[in-house]
């Protein structure tokens, strides 16, 4: 059985508070805007 620790926050809340989550997401959004401009 997969054993998980008892996190303080649910994983999705922990993810939203993780700066490393926002970096790729921001770059992806910027990439889509760039694509719209160059296409």
């Amino acid at each position: 059985m997969a054993k998980r620790m008892d996190p303080v926050l649910p994983w999705w809340r922990a993810m939203l508070g993780d700066i490393q989550f926002w970096i790729p997401l921001t770059v992806l959004a910027a990439g889509l805007v760039l694509l719209r401009w160059v296409a």
Binding site: W11, W12, A14, P24, L28, L35, V38, A39
Partner: protein, 426 residues
């Protein structure tokens, strides 16, 4: 948080060696993926070519992991670290946007200028690896110089090779083309954040690519519909190209083998070292072009000098990185980064530690009926497209095809055996 226990020196050496070998095997297979696409003659939209290749990638990314390890293990990984599914989807979307940007970059400024610009992704990978995941921390100045210097030297070699590569000059807005190429580099470089995040937390590379490919194919389908005139326009474009669809699917399949090796390289030597090593794909792509398709035939001595010089420089940079493997002090910093991830997301630290050491304590051996159905369905799709494929109307040197294919198989055998012996594909 307790301090992590250092990995035994012999085990660390094994993992680093298998990571370096995976990096080089990735370069060879990613470079070879260009070969099937070269038989596709002009007249087909690049977006349609990209879309079909991604479909081939999708088939391979579901069937190869099912064949190698069985999909039951994907479920185990998801239960351990469900947040990584989101990360893998984002990485797949980043890939799709970056790949589409390269199409417009080539249109506007030509491949020889665009390629080096988006190839900067490995330099960005080094920055993210060091800033976010403790890579190169505690590595000492010599290793720092070898990795950063090696990647910079490789960039110089790539520049020379790109200038020597036969390609049509772009015919569009130069500023827009450069923005697209640099943008693609930034997107690809940033895509390695989810890679490293997943592998520090213990996800198996075969599980990661399974979700990555859903994001990749999903967004690529949206983009293909947007640029080809909706589902109807896309269908017409694909119907027009049906004679070459098999070659594009094959390119996607070969690409996935390279990508899997790249994932293992990212896992065991980090993105700072793994990505530059797999960027040797440019060298292999050029080898296929020159030896098999005679692309430089009639080229001047200056072109050949650029190719030889660029290849040597690139090999030198890759060699420097390969020799600068992570010492125990640096690996300890990786373990600290992994512990941080475990604490943040509530993943069992014992699981994270074991996976980082290349062990797979809760792996399920064997395949289920679903695995065989997936493998059978993917194979059937390839067979159907193969029956409608047109033989390429292109002069090829078959002796070199055999020699390069043999080199690929040797690297596949050596890399696969090393991964199996050391990590059981963990």
């Amino acid at each position: 948080m307790t301090s992590p226990t250092p990995l035994a020196a012999a085990r660390l050496r094994q993992l680093q060696a298998v990571g370096v070998l995976s990096g080089f095997a990735a370069g060879a297979w990613l470079g070879a993926a260009e070969a099937p696409t070269k038989v596709v003659t002009l007249g087909i939209s690049p977006v349609a070519i990209s879309f079909v290749m991604v479909f081939g990638v999708f088939l391979a990314r579901w069937s190869l992991p099912a064949l190698i390890r069985g999909t039951a293990n994907v479920g185990v990984d998801v239960r351990r670290a469900p947040h990584l599914v989101v990360w893998a989807l984002i990485a797949g979307c980043l890939w799709a946007v970056a790949n589409t940007l390269t199409i417009f970059a080539i249109r506007d400024i030509g491949l020889s200028i665009a390629f080096p610009l988006w190839n900067t992704n490995s330099l960005l990978g080094i920055v993210w690896g060091a800033v976010l995941f403790n890579e190169l921390r505690g590595a000492g100045r010599t290793r720092w110089l070898a990795v950063a210097g090696g990647a910079t030297v490789m960039f110089g070699g790539a520049l020379l090779l790109a200038l020597a590569s036969p390609s049509q000059a772009g015919a569009g807005n130069a500023f827009r083309g450069m923005a697209a190429a640099i943008g693609a580099g930034v997107l690809w470089g940033t895509m390695y954040i989810p890679y490293r995040k997943a592998y520090l937390t213990g996800m198996n590379p075969l599980s990661f690519v399974t979700f990555f490919t859903i994001g990749e194919l999903g967004l690529m389908t949206v983009l293909a519909f947007a640029y080809l005139g909706g589902p109807e326009g896309a269908w017409q474009e694909l119907a027009r190209a049906r004679g070459v669809l098999f070659w594009l699917l094959l390119g996607g399949f070969v690409w996935v083998v390279g990508d899997l090796f790249q994932q293992y390289a990212a896992k065991y030597i980090g993105i700072g070292r793994g990505i530059p090593l797999s960027n040797t794909n440019q060298l292999w792509g050029l080898l296929w072009g020159i030896l098999v398709f005679g692309e430089l035939a009639g080229g001047g001595s200056a072109t050949y000098a650029q190719v030889v010089g660029g290849s040597l420089i690139m090999a030198l940079g890759a060699g420097a990185i390969a020799l600068a493997t992570a010492p125990a002090a640096e690996h300890l910093r990786w373990q600290e980064a992994a512990q941080r991830e475990a604490a943040r997301y509530g993943v069992d630290p014992a699981y994270v530690g074991a996976r980082l050491a290349g062990e797979d304590p809760d792996a399920r051996r064997g395949r289920t009926i679903w695995d065989w159905i997936i493998v059978g369905a993917a194979t059937a799709v390839f067979v159907v497209f193969a029956t409608t494929a047109r033989a390429p109307q292109l002069a090829m040197h078959h002796g070199w095809v055999a020699a390069l294919a043999l080199a690929l198989l040797v690297l596949l055998g050596a890399g696969g055996a090393a991964l199996w012996r050391t990590t059981r594909f963990g």
